[in-house]
């Protein structure tokens, strides 16, 4: 009996002739938490999909607890004790929380009927474990992304798995839930379960993992115990070069011109009397716990949802009717948090996505699009943002890695050179290198006089990038902290619901 839970040797995988994994050797020890990180598109998800039976490898062997292992389907992987929390959420919105948790193995009675009592009670236990604000009978459609992610995690934990794979599980979790999750991971480790933890947040990886494997361009760039490697070294392994700093530093000035002003905005029960100002050259962070209403605020600002009350002044103009097209007309841009359903045309090529907004500027009076100009802009955006794509004219966005998809969304807006930029979790699922690029883009825009509203759940990056941070809690702005007074504890406290501020 060896101490490895899972061993992969010589694993190769190519998509339509383009190799993505080049003969990987990879091992997971029993009872360890193995961190896996690497740039977007390095092949992390592909590798995990092979382990989880979603994809089949072209060549190579896998050994699971000293037995040969070659799953043909996710069900087989599950049967062998592998639980997989996908990067993209894998829940069914028309089913209840309890049903989702048991979707791949309902307990049934003699008549083939689902044992509802049983699944409800087990689901309730799972819910209690993270004290989620849901009942087993809640429809998933009624849940926020963050809670959905927790449900997804609870679902995997229910399976008595021997190996659990987390593919970027915290992308929409608040710090509180993150802590609960990390606590659970610790507990699981105590019970001898091996885990693979994929993330772009190095801080988390260092905190959780025993060893760290770095993937680069489909190869293993090295595996080291977490204690023996520094953050800088890790980044160097990932991107193949020295990255002197995580946040770019750019000299910029904040002018007094207010580009966007909101007064007493209200929307249903989710945004309650919010007033704020964004100045030219300023990057304003918006922090809050999950469900605080930041996304709703951004949507109301951009006219995706119609406000119930309040005024909005965009570029010195009082907006009577706020709609995305009116806002774009006022030179605003909005990156949504849910890129799959709100940001991208998943079944269309990269090109069509990139030029979606810009095309309107490239038309003549008859409405004919200048194809040459369009292609030029697309090429530039792909180059500037370093989007990894084989053939932008034919490759579908759905086949890009998560980070590259996000870059496409970014490219779509940056092409317009917006003056007001609303960003809802723009770095979610984006690797360190690309994050740096995104921060640079944001700062560069600010330097050139744009106003940026930066919504994020990661205090680190907010404190690194922003000039000012607003804190939101249950639909209200509960605090404003200038750069000089940034303090993690203080910000977190403002975000937590309490009797102090009402």
């Amino acid at each position: 009996m060896s101490d490895t839970a899972l061993r992969l040797a010589g694993v190769r995988k190519a998509f339509s002739g383009v190799p993505v994994l080049h003969g990987l050797d990879f091992a997971l020890k029993k009872g360890e938490v193995l961190g896996v990180t690497g740039e977007n598109g390095a092949g992390k998800s592909t590798l995990m999909n092979i382990i989880g039976g979603v994809l089949r490898m072209d060549a190579g062997t896998m050994t699971l607890f000293d037995e040969p292992y070659a799953p043909c389907s996710p069900a087989q992987a599950t049967a062998k004790g592998i639980a997989f929390i996908h990067q993209e959420l894998n829940l069914f919105t028309n089913l209840t929380v309890a049903e989702n948790m048991f979707i791949d193995g309902f307990p049934t009675n003699r008549f083939g009927a689902i044992d509802h009592k049983k699944i409800t009670s087990i689901a309730q236990q799972a819910i209690d474990r993270f004290s989620l604000p849901v009942t087993p009978a809640t429809k998933v459609a009624d849940l926020s992304t963050g809670i959905r992610q927790m449900v997804e995690i609870s679902k995997a934990l229910l399976k008595n798995a021997r190996i659990i794979i987390f593919d970027e599980p915290t992308t929409s979790l608040s710090s509180r839930e993150k802590n609960a999750l990390f606590h659970t991971i610790g507990e699981l480790q105590q019970r001898g379960i091996s885990m693979i933890y994929i993330s772009h947040i190095l801080e988390d990886i260092f905190r959780l993992c025993d060893r760290i494997t770095v993937l680069r361009d489909g190869r293993i760039a090295g595996t080291s115990p977490a204690a023996e490697i520094s953050e800088n070294e890790l980044i160097k392994r990932m991107v193949g070069r020295e990255l002197s700093q995580i946040f770019p530093s750019i000299e910029k000035t904040i002018s007094d011109t207010v580009l966007l002003e909101a007064r007493h905005l209200k929307w249903r029960q989710r945004v309650k009397d919010v007033s704020l100002k964004l100045r030219a050259g300023e990057i304003v962070g918006l922090y809050g716990l999950m469900g605080a209403g930041r996304t709703e605020l951004a949507k109301v600002l951009f006219g995706v949802e119609q406000r119930d009350a309040g005024e909005l002044i965009l570029n010195h103009r009082l907006m009577a009717q706020v709609s995305p097209s009116a806002c774009i007309g006022g030179n605003a841009a909005f990156i949504t948090e849910d890129r799959r359903s709100e940001g991208l045309l998943m079944s269309k090529p990269v090109d069509d996505n990139l030029c979606l907004v810009k095309s309107a500027d490239l038309t003549n009076r008859l409405g004919v699009v200048n194809v040459v100009e369009r292609a030029r802009h697309n090429r530039e955006a792909i180059k500037d943002l370093q989007i990894r794509v084989v053939d932008p004219a034919t490759q579908l966005v759905s086949s890009l890695s998560g980070g590259n998809q996000q870059k496409v969304v970014f490219g779509k807006w940056v092409m317009k050179d917006p003056k007001i930029f609303l960003l809802d979790e723009p770095t979610r699922g984006v690797d360190v290198g690309a994050r740096f690029e995104i921060y640079s883009i944001i700062m560069d825009l600010a330097k050139r006089g744009s106003a940026v509203l930066f919504i994020s759940s990661e205090l680190q990056e907010l404190m690194g990038v922003c000039d000012r941070i607003l804190v939101m809690q249950e639909g209200r702005l509960t605090g404003e902290v200038p750069k000089a007074e940034f303090d993690q504890e203080k910000l977190l406290e403002m975000a937590l619901p309490g009797p102090a501020l009402t």
């Binding site: 979603v54 996908h86 894998n90 829940l91 919105t93």
Partner: protein
């Protein structure tokens, strides 16, 4: 995602959109019963239910297919095809013993044969949709054409009497029509399957996202094929009952039924994009509304020309009310 399910919360409107179709039905009942005292009698209500039952059974089948984000527009043609085959068997002396024709055995035999045929048609549709990844609309359009042509070839386009099925389709147990009893049985059984069994939940999941279902390890193809088989079986059962009610199968039999069936399903709240819908009360209320309009207009002695116009207007209003509060798919 979230917002799609939040209905506008202002009082009246929200009530109206949740119960819009019931409101329309109620209004119709009031208008019709004021128009003719015969409308709200036990006899007439039973008549409406009797008329609604055969196609209602087909609507139940259609709900399964729609939930798995498919569509089956071959229902009308397969009704025609199987009824033709059944008619030929019943009429061809020597195929089944003459004595059987007059008793239940002949009917049972034909029924069994027809349901098998329906299952086969559904299976073929399902296999084409899943194995060859052809859009359900195209598959069933094509099979509809083939079934219709084959049926016509068999019958030579002439009407075929199916009087032997009359007892089954027109008979009653006490005052209750047989078809109604069958309809209720199908309803309860299918609603149970949909809500309470693994198959039902898996089908809903597939309708929500086939890709996620695949990744979760649900046998997507097998489940979808099953939904077409159910639709095929129930559709042909409906066809046989309907043919039995008429007493004959002619070349035009079943034509356009697919649209009645699909619109009844949609009226009952089933989405054409999968994953959303119900049998109880959805499928039932849809088909009853459609049937009531026709019955009521006849009760009012309305001019025959305006039947289609009124039917169109009412369907329009009912769906409009139902959709108002939703964030629709805009398709």
């Amino acid at each position: 995602m979230m917002q799609e399910n939040i209905r506008r919360s202002s009082g009246y409107l929200s009530w109206l959109t949740s119960y819009g179709i019931y409101a329309v039905l109620l209004l119709l009942v009031v208008v019709f019963s004021l128009g003719n005292s015969q409308f709200l009698t036990v006899d007439n209500v039973l008549l409406i239910l009797q008329q609604a039952s055969p196609l209602g059974i087909a609507v139940v089948g259609m709900v399964f297919v729609l939930l798995g984000s498919g569509i089956d527009i071959s229902v009308g043609a397969s009704m025609f095809f199987v009824s033709t085959v059944a008619g030929c068997v019943l009429n061809a002396s020597g195929v089944i013993p003459a004595a059987w024709l007059t008793d239940i055995r002949g009917v049972a035999l034909v029924l069994g044969m027809v349901l098998l045929l329906g299952a086969l048609i559904g299976w073929i549709n399902g296999m084409l949709v899943t194995r060859f990844r052809i859009l359900p609309f195209i598959v069933t359009l094509a099979t509809a054409s083939i079934l219709k042509g084959t049926g016509l070839k068999i019958s030579g386009s002439a009407s075929i009497g199916v009087a032997a099925l009359g007892d089954l389709a027109n008979g009653r147990v006490g005052p209750i029509p047989n078809v109604l009893i069958l309809f209720v049985v199908v309803l309860i059984a299918c609603d149970y399957v949909l809500r309470r069994t693994v198959y039902g939940r898996h089908l809903m999941a597939i309708g929500d996202s086939a890709r996620n279902a695949e990744r979760t390890g649900i046998k997507v193809n097998r489940n979808i094929v099953a939904s077409y088989v159910i639709c095929g079986v129930l559709g042909t059962l409906a066809g046989i009952l309907s043919a039995g009610q008429i007493g004959s199968v002619s070349a035009g039999f079943g034509e356009g039924n697919e649209f009645i069936v699909i619109s009844a399903a949609v009226l009952g709240g089933t989405s054409l994009f999968g994953g959303k819908g119900s049998i109880l009360p959805g499928a039932v209320i849809g088909i009853i509304l459609v049937t009531t309009i026709m019955n009521g207009l006849a009760m009012m002695n309305a001019s025959p020309f305006i039947y289609t116009i009124v039917r169109g207007l009412i369907i329009f209003c009912a769906i409009a009310l139902d959709s108002m509060g939703h964030q629709g798919e805009l398709r």
